[in-house]
Amino acid sequence: MLYDILSLGVPFSVALLLAALGEMFNQRAGVFNLGCDGIMSLGAFLGFLPPYLLRTSTLFPYANLAGFALAALAGVFLGLVFAVVTVTFRAPQGIAGIGLQMLGWGLAGTIFRHFIGGVTGVEGVAAWPIPVLSRIPYLGGILFDHNPVVYLAMLAVPASWFLLYRTPWGLRVRAVGTHPRAADTMGTSVTRVRYQALMLGGAMAGLGGAYLSLCQAKMFADDLVAGRGFIAVALVYFGRWSPFGILGGALLFSLAQALQLSIQVGGIKFPYEFAVMLPYVMVILVLALARRSRMLGPAALGRPYDREMRV
């Protein structure tokens, strides 16, 4: 039972993890991107599109890769749109994020319904057990018997840490999100760094969406993402803006989801709707409890920077 929960929970965490790591870069640069959910929707759809279109073609082996690439590109594009709106025009980020969410979600739904219509499955990415390691009893099944994207996402955690804390670009991101005026005075272009961070965050949210449709659900439906983008934003608070904290949060959520699934499979009577509700209730609780950690967040989070204004 515990083994089942753990070995299910690890792959479930990946979509949240990728999107939340991307959102972490956005917020570290001072931009609060609530459109993450819409980017994931579009990513999920565009990731699903190449394998669906190429299902009879000889190019099929590359289709999944093309799907991930397309999803990342779409994420970069939507990140760019959000950057124009919130960085260049300095629009309030909360409401603009909701606009982006509607845009991404609507785009995915419109194109999907027009060209495909009903829920359709794809073959998806196959599991790829790591040779020797996956044979370790218990631990192997939990950690080393998944599709390759899971391993890459786990590697993305230390990679994000390194990028954020050990590279000049990471320093600039943190500076721009903490004290943009100081960064500006030192010759860092606040606008440029925020654009870059939003594009990176968008790409990661797009990849997270594509993971949902290609590796987790292996199909696409209008409401596949179901608010995971918003959960990812909450995870950034929960993880205190650090990659390893976010990994912990993503695992907590996905383990709860796996637990709920195994309770249902186990035949314990529990209304299905309340089980689906659980993660959303958890987000509210997490946000309420993470109140004090907000002090640790980027100081300029949510504040547009205007070089020509005092204050």
Binding site: F89, G99, H114, F230, F274
Partner: protein, 378 residues
């Protein structure tokens, strides 16, 4: 820069947003191989061909007005209510439950009770987010979005289980819907043969009341002050946390009322997918209407037209109705960008000079013509 300039200037924002939405729609429509211009013609004129189409526009405008009024109150008070969708559902549930609980009551009591219950349900649901924000500093956008998902699950659970019409269980069809409301809880149909109901009077009356509340009472002033600058408001002795909670209660109440009105006026029972995205469209209507009742009413009629028209294109031109979400998203992004960009004093001054040259505004202060007014009110 007088009143006339500000009006023209506000019009400019709406114009820019419309242009951006049209451009985006053209792109998307061409991408899916539909003819953009023909689709626009269907959306904008299709519903106007007969009386039924016109009344349908108003039928959709009613919940849009109610939801948007609540959202305008919350936005003006500095708290962003994205949770109207969930509040509508809770309003539907509580309104339906009350109407079904007292079928013998005279109409004079039952109908108001049903609507009041809807408003109370929505207010409670919105109030959760308000209290969380005021007490625990929980971001209200995230909490209201989460409450939407929770309400949606609660809604399906109740309609499939405890509140399902016993007839559905007997016949075995199992459609998730409640029992039909007693006639005493129905709103009158204004024009026979159409679905237009007297809820529209309620919506228009409340639009006036909201204007009165926000701009003619002390409470409204407190709310707007808390929204415009919470630090200054607190210094002036306004209890900011209290006004946040109050604003969310009212916003939720309006959305819940919209749900109850929709049940009592249109469907006469709680069915699945009843809210039909009114909660999200209401945000766009509120922004499009400049967060002011006088703007919200025409904006709601316009979006009612778009919603009915989008349904028509789905049937006639094969353009999915999800298209409307794309438009809403672009309109939001365009409005918030245009507003912010135009708030820039330099841009304002340029616009002012341009309008003056066109003879559209006169300079109130002839001596200071063209002087930069950095402190101009946005």
């Amino acid at each position: 820069m007088g009143r006339r300039f500000r009006l023209l200037y506000g019009g400019l924002v709406v114009l820019l947003a419309t242009a951006a939405a049209l451009a985006a729609a053209t792109l998307v429509l061409s991408a899916i191989g539909a003819k953009p211009f023909a689709t626009f013609v269907v959306i904008l004129t299709g519903p106007l061909h007969d009386l039924f189409g016109v009344t349908e526009i108003l039928v959709r405008a009613v919940p849009l007005i109610l939801v948007a009024l609540g959202i305008a109150i919350s936005f003006r008070s500095g708290i962003l209510n994205i949770g109207a969708e969930g509040q509508i559902m809770i309003g539907i549930l509580s309104g339906t439950a009350v109407a079904l609980a007292g079928p013998g009551l005279p109409r004079l009591f039952l109908l108001p009770l049903c609507l009041l219950a809807g408003a109370l349900g929505g207010a409670l649901w919105g109030g959760i987010a308000g209290v969380l924000r005021a007490r625990l500093d929980v971001n209200e956008i995230l909490s209201t979005v989460m409450l939407n998902y929770i309400a949606a699950q609660l809604y399906t659970f109740l309609l499939r289980g405890p509140m399902i019409d016993p007839n559905e269980l007997m016949t075995g069809s199992g459609t998730p819907q409640s029992t039909r409301l007693p006639h005493n809880a129905w709103l009158d149909r204004i024009i026979p043969g159409t679905r237009l109901h007297s809820g529209i009077y309620l919506a228009l009356g409340l639009a006036f009341l909201v204007w009165f509340l926000l701009w003619r009472t002390t409470l409204g002033f407190r709310l707007r002050a808390a929204g415009a600058g919470s630090k200054a408001a607190r210094y002036a002795g306004i209890h900011v946390e209290r006004s946040l909670v109050l604003a969310m209660l009212m916003a939720g109440g309006f959305a819940g009322l919209a749900g109850a009105v929709e049940v009592a006026g249109v469907h006469h029972r709680a069915i699945e997918a009843i809210s039909g995205g009114y909660g999200f469209a209401g945000i766009v209507v509120a922004l499009f209407g400049g967060l002011h009742p006088a703007g919200i009413v025409p904006a709601a009629v316009f979006f009612g037209l778009l919603l009915v028209g989008a349904d028509m294109t789905q049937r006639s031109a094969g353009v999915p109705a999800n298209m409307i979400l794309v438009l809403q998203g672009v309109v939001i992004l365009a409005i918030v960008s245009a507003k912010m960009y135009l708030r820039n004093p330099y841009a304002q001054d340029r616009a002012f000079r341009l309008l003056r040259r066109m003879g559209l505004v006169r300079d109130a202060r002839a001596g200071e013509a063209g002087e930069l007014s950095a402190g101009a009110e946005p």
